[in-house]
């Protein structure tokens, strides 16, 4: 069937008209907020008790925006007569969000599940120096970490 010339033009007019009659996809931001998806990369949270100050995240960070300081301490041995244990104590863990490019390599590389993505995104600051989140601030973000999604039916349970 031969197509009418200008058929596409009419179709285009139809598209804009239809869009006009539908509600807008944008929201009025400060008044209403969109729910970011659970896996959104908003800010990185630190679970301090899991961190061993192994420095893997800091070394893998492409921007070098993670600052870690720690020291070793001796602890009493687990068994009677054993050698005293050495543990790493975390003194400082800062992420400079003015440098961070949200690649997520630190979260991937952490062997002890101490870093988590959270979808929170409202932490802009008037001063650029305030974008340096210290370990207390990063710990506060832990409250906003979403539960991991449920496993698919029939998936192997984690041991």
């Amino acid at each position: 069937m031969p197509q009418l010339p200008g058929r596409g033009l009419i179709k285009g007019l139809g598209v804009t008209f239809k869009t006009m009659t539908q509600p807008a996809v944008t929201v009025q931001y400060p008044k209403e907020k969109e729910e970011p998806p659970t896996r959104a990369r908003g800010v990185i949270a630190l679970k301090e008790e899991n961190c061993t100050a192994c420095m893997l995240c800091g070394r893998e960070c492409p921007d070098w925006c993670i600052y870690i300081e720690g020291h070793k301490e001796k602890r009493p041995p687990r068994r009677e007569g054993g050698k005293p244990r050495t543990v790493n104590i975390l003194d400082r863990f800062d992420i400079d969000y003015a440098l961070c490019m949200y690649c997520g390599i630190c979260v991937e590389v952490c062997p002890f599940d101490a870093l988590f993505w959270t979808p929170e995104y409202e932490y802009s600051e008037a001063r650029i120096a305030d974008l340096l989140h210290d370990k207390d601030k990063l710990g506060e973000w832990m409250a906003t970490v979403p539960e991991p999604e449920a496993l698919e039916a029939g998936a192997e349970k984690k041991k």
Binding site: L9, L13, V15, T16, F17, T19, M20, A24, T26
Partner: protein, 341 residues
Amino acid sequence: MLALSLSYWQVTTIKTLVVLSIVPAGAIILGYVFLLKMMAHMQSRLGPMEPGGFHGWFQLIGDGIKFIQKEDIIPAEADRRVFALAPLVILISTFLIYVVVPSGPRLVVQDLDVGIFFALAVSSLSVVGVLMAGWSSANKYSLLGALRAAGQLIAYELPLVLAVVGVVIQAGTMSLQGIVHAQADQAIFGVHLVGNPFVITQVLGFILFLAAAQAELSQTPFDMPVAESELVAGFMTEYSGFRFLFFFISEFGTAFALAGLAATLYLGGWYQPWFRHGLMADLLGPLVLGVKVMFVAFLIFWIRFTFPRFREDQLQTFAWKYLIPLSLLNIVLTGILKVAF
């Protein structure tokens, strides 16, 4: 009744004030309803929502206030007097169109016998202002934009005029008031219903008029003169502050005026079948005309927000190879039908 008790200068003052207020008001209404809100919704967003409290109705007025406060910058190399005059020339051509558009049996500034001829003549005055603006800016983008605009306005002036000839043949008069009455009285191919809005018998002419008006207004499929990706803002590039505001008002004021012309020529103007004379007709006239103007403006801006821009050669081809032959055909057909019925 009312007009008789006033002296000539009083009537003239009132008419002048009305036109002076309708042009910016029309520009603001079209700009707000279509440019800000309708375009936003066609792009699935909301547009301005905050200024003025209710759906951002104050946005354009606020913009106007902002423009007035700005410094009046004239480039060092510019031809100062011509540069300063150009926006006024364009604005005056906009104001003059309003002189002949009737919005009621007595609500017309001056019902000229050659009304439509006058309107088309003064609307093409704007090309002088555009050339003045482009030449005096001492800017290559301005000059190119002005030359493109001049070429386009002249090319599309022809189908605009030729499309109107069909209406004039059918109505037998060039007075816009006469054309409104002709549409009220005539029959559609011998059938008397509610008169004959010429959009029915002149449907080709209506489409041609709309296409040419779109180009006359430099609205988007035909906005090569102000193509921002290549010419910054065309002939308006060097303008800022209230001179830019003048360009804005005249662009949308002219859109309002041409929509009014289209409504008067093709959609029956202010006429509604219940009141032909007297106070009620004068009161209802502006409302009826306003609704039709908004409808025509909706068509213009709907097309504007939907289609991408023509290339320069496509733009000229469209006028000379398609619109002008079609409008000549329209005249011939109208002539034949006029004699036949």
